[in-house]
Amino acid sequence: MKKHSLILSALLVVAVCSFTNIQKADAAVANLTITVMNGLTITDTSNTTNPQNVAIAITPDVGAAAQTGNANFYIRSNYPTWSLTALRSALSDPSSTGLALTDIGYAVTLGTHGTNANASAGAVAGSFASTTLNTLTTSAQAIVTGSAKTSSARDSANTQNFFKVNNAFTVNQDFFFSPGVVTVSVTYALTAI
């Protein structure tokens, strides 16, 4: 009787919770896709994109060397073919000084590239290595053609993978030119081909 009561009590009071150790595994998948987009940047040599003002002052004198002003750019492209184009505006009020576009020398050269840049990434096009400003027209034309991305090595901060393009504007200090100011804008564009 006692035994029976104990069993009953046990059955009534105790709820049996059995913990079964069944090995189980769940899984999830992350499919990582990294898409590299086309990147082209043109900056000044301070790595900023502000336009550059080139001011050239001429004081005619015997034996005076030509006056030069520079606009130098850093170019970066991960595109295998690219082009740096330029177009100019009209010369403002040329009659005031007598300066013509043919009086302004224009030379495109490649500067000292960054240490992680590919120096062979591009070449000066046409006659722009040494010409006069009239060679530039009001329509964009290539002054540098690129045949490779500008980086030669990884550069996580993109500080030393620039391809440098120098633009020099030169005017002789000729007494032919009358006092005054003339201006011309040259617009550069870096595009993927």
């Binding site: 069944i22 769940d26 992350a30 990582l32 590299v36 991960n78």
Partner: protein, 195 residues
Amino acid sequence: MKKSKLNLFIFQTVLIILFLSNFVFCIKTQAQIATITDNFTVNSSLVISDATTEANNPTLNVNISVTPDVGASAASGSANFRLRTNQAMWTLTATKGAFSAGTTGIAQSDITLALATSAGSTANASAGTRAFVSNTLNNITTTTLVSGTAKTSSSRDSTNTNNYFQVNSTYSINQDFFFTPGSATVPITYTFTSP
């Protein structure tokens, strides 16, 4: 006379005893005993779900777009999971699949995986310990990310909404001009097991 009274007394006593015994018998026969045996079986369970949708065994697409630019910070993407288990010991591992660089020039050493953990309000934040903090993919084949030493719940949560142990995995890459346009892909499988 005395004898007859004695006999009557005995007779009456027997009747009373019989009546009472019958009464008790009736009570006994009217009582029923029901026995219910409740067996609550708690099985082992491990669930890995998407931290955003709570979908189980998710396949997440982590898409990172790299647009090289000066001064651009690293591009990143995340795959965040929630773990729930009542097992005392558990492990979360990552297994890297086949890497395809495509035309990008991206190497596995260019991609960094970083791990962070958190926990829901009814979860045990100490249930698991990061065995992995950060590394590049070239150093990952099958790697233990989190080692679990306790069930993930710290208190009751009838709907299992806040008893998750969350693992955030973030993939990042520098937006370097060295990488050429195209796409690189690699699958990472996360396996949640109990030993």
